[in-house]
């Protein structure tokens, strides 16, 4: 089957991409300033002998290529090394934090894509009118607002001024809940501000892409042909304009995932959200190189994986793109 061949080819491409990033990451952390042992020991007066012993213990006395081969071998066993700071396997730490980020990024992305599509279609349809100018203006402002700053504004307004939502964290520490519903509602209240911030930050970008895409499609001959057939405006959008305009958005969403993670770092840090973004931020502050390296690899895999999925999805959405 051609399909299988295509999938295999795409999969191989994805693996090669990940491998190249892996090599890059490995050497990136080795040219970074600071001796990892010094960070690990935190005792400036340690004896030279002890230092050499620890160095040998971590395998840092070996030549770089031997270290790299050990690293690859461990990777294949699912061992990403252990964190300097938490003194725990990196993979465990990452996996612990995944659900929190997934909830935040997942909810935020779905809502922002959905609303972005609607806003994009409406402003494209009303092109040149006040709705378009105002809508596009708001989208551009949201698109260019830094996530951390916007998050701080949200905290100031909703948590400090109105006092309706908590400033951060996923739940209240050390509280026993009377019921499951109570716990759920508390979680929702904690989720609200980070998700709102996240959604608003990304809505602008999606809306702008969708607007351009719809405007482009609306100028196609088949749109005019459909109008000549007496189609109503709603049907025109539903049958012809939106399905064709959605295609660029699919690849945009996948490519955007890298930036979304950057946004997650900022939003999670502002709201003390115990997810991957905040983990990365603290790992940076602590110079926790193994953890950072693991996180980079994990995120690379996510982005490449998302693009792989987008490629496959694309072929289902567009009959012109065959799996071959």
């Amino acid at each position: 089957m051609n399909n299988r061949k295509y999938l295999l080819k795409k999969f191989m491409q994805a693996m090669i991409t990940i491998f190249i990033v892996l090599i890059f990451n490995y050497f990136l952390f080795r040219v970074m300033p600071g001796d990892p042992i010094r960070v690990l020991i935190r005792n400036p007066r340690i004896s030279v002998d002890a230092l050499a012993e620890i160095r040998a213990q971590f395998g840092l006395d070996l030549p770089w290529y031997t270290q790299f081969i050990y690293y690859l071998k461990d990777l294949l066993h699912g061992n990403l090394g252990s964190s300097f700071y938490y003194r725990e396997p990196v993979l465990n730490i990452i996996m612990e934090r995944v659900p929190a980020t997934l909830i935040l990024v997942g909810t935020g992305t779905i809502i922002s894509i959905f609303l972005g599509i609607i806003i994009g279609v409406v402003v494209a349809w009303k092109r040149g009118t006040k709705i378009d100018i105002i809508g596009l203006g708001i989208c551009l402002i949201l698109y260019s607002t830094p996530a951390f700053w916007f998050g701080i504004l949200m905290v100031m307004f909703f948590a400090v001024y109105l006092r309706v939502f908590p400033t951060g964290l996923m739940s209240l520490p050390g509280v026993a809940y009377s019921s499951l519903l109570d716990q759920f509602m508390t979680s929702l209240r904690h989720l609200f501000l980070p998700v709102l911030t996240f959604t608003l930050i990304y809505i602008g970008g999606y809306a702008i892409i969708m607007r351009n895409s719809v405007i482009e499609v609306l100028n196609e001959d088949y749109i005019i042909t459909a109008r000549a057939k007496g189609i109503s405006y709603i049907q025109l959008l539903k049958r012809h304009a939106v399905p064709n305009a959605l295609l660029p958005l699919v690849s945009m969403v996948a490519i955007n995932l890298g930036f979304v993670i950057a946004g997650a770092i900022q939003v999670e840090t502002v709201f003390s959200w115990p997810g991957l973004g905040r983990l990365m931020y603290t790992a940076l502050l602590n110079r926790d190189y193994p953890l950072l390296q693991g996180l980079f690899l994990f995120l690379t895999t996510c982005v490449v994986g998302a693009n792989f999925c987008a490629d496959i999805l694309y072929s289902y959405l567009d009959p012109r793109v065959k799996l071959s």
Binding site: T225, A226, K229, G230
Partner: protein
């Protein structure tokens, strides 16, 4: 209105406002108006093929779209079977759309790439709620496809446009116009993008449909020899106006307007020795936002007189059913 006419176009105007820049808006400078169609008059008889010929940019496509109200006219009137199209309600406009269809130049652009052939051809039936019965719908789609010259029409139902050749695609586009049983079709350069070998098939098909189904055509083309071949009458357009209109044989045999003369003189003709008598036009079609004073053609006209620079000529009947807008005819 003459009963034999299906369409009467009177002083049709389409002026676009040029997109003005931010600075111009700020200084509230006057927005230049692009006179794409600048007072077009003609009639189309029932079962007639009228060609609208002219260089690209002369406004012929816009004229076609404005007649169907796919572009809103800014002036003038269009009467379809005696009905003023500018006064139609939404409901009446939909009924009009069932009788008047358009076929575009590029069948690679005029079909939605994500719709199957069946979805494309059945869509007009669905949006106009003509038949809800699936079986009847299939029947009508199949008939439209075979009317458009596709054999084994049901084989095409689940195919996508990208799986078909240019000629097949154009036949699909024609089928989706035919499925509503229209009385009038605007064919906007329907064969320009097709290979020469496929062209004759499509043209023959259009002429057969005229004979069998009494469909009237407005055939838009830049190719005067094609217009000569297919049409009963030819209207030559220049910069938003019709400069000459008359029977196809008359126009080609004895062109009156200097512009038509120049166009006719470059039609390839095996009987004429090459190079003789050819009038190659110089210069460009005028900028439609600031057309020259007087006759719009005078800067390119080798016969131009002082009066041509001052006064714009009107379309006058010079012999029966032959109209020319030139001071010198």
């Amino acid at each position: 209105m003459d009963d034999r006419n299906i369409l009467e176009v009177k002083n049709l105007e389409v002026h676009f406002e040029a997109r003005s820049g931010f600075l111009n808006n700020l200084l509230s400078r006057e927005v230049p108006r692009i006179r794409a169609v600048d007072g077009v008059n003609f009639n189309l008889k029932k079962g007639e093929i009228l060609s609208l010929a002219g260089e690209s940019g002369c406004g012929k496509t816009t004229t076609g779209k404005a007649i169907l109200r796919l572009v809103e006219p800014t002036g003038g009137k269009v009467y379809f079977r005696g009905q003023d199209l500018s006064l139609l309600t939404q409901k009446e406009l939909r009924e009009f759309r069932q009788q008047a269809q358009i076929i575009f130049q590029d069948p690679y652009e005029s079909l939605n790439p994500r719709q199957t052939v069946f979805a494309t051809v059945a869509e007009p039936l669905e949006v106009n709620r003509i038949c809800d019965n699936t079986k009847e719908k299939e029947e009508r789609v199949a008939r439209a496809l075979s009317d458009a010259g596709l054999k084994n029409p049901r084989d095409y139902f689940i195919r996508y446009p990208h799986e078909l050749s240019g000629g097949q695609r154009q036949r699909i586009a024609i089928a989706s116009a035919l499925v509503l049983k229209p009385k009038f079709i605007v064919a906007d350069e329907p064969v320009t993008m097709l290979d020469l070998s496929i062209r004759s098939g499509i043209l023959k098909l259009m002429m057969e449909l005229r004979d069998n189904k009494q469909i009237s055509y407005l055939f838009i083309t830049h190719d005067l020899s094609l217009a000569w071949l297919i049409s009963d009458r030819i209207a030559v357009m220049y910069s938003g106006n019709i400069v000459e209109i008359g029977g196809a044989e008359q126009i080609i045999g004895s062109p009156a307007h200097p512009y038509t003369k120049a166009l006719v003189s470059v039609i390839p003709n095996p009987e004429r020795s090459s190079g003789t008598d050819r009038k190659l036009l110089e210069g460009e079609i005028p900028d439609p936002s600031s057309p020259p004073r007087g006759c719009k053609f005078h800067p390119r006209c080798s016969y131009a007189q002082p009066c041509c620079r001052e006064e714009r000529p009107l379309l006058r009947e010079v012999e029966k059913d032959r109209f020319v807008s030139c001071h010198l005819v």
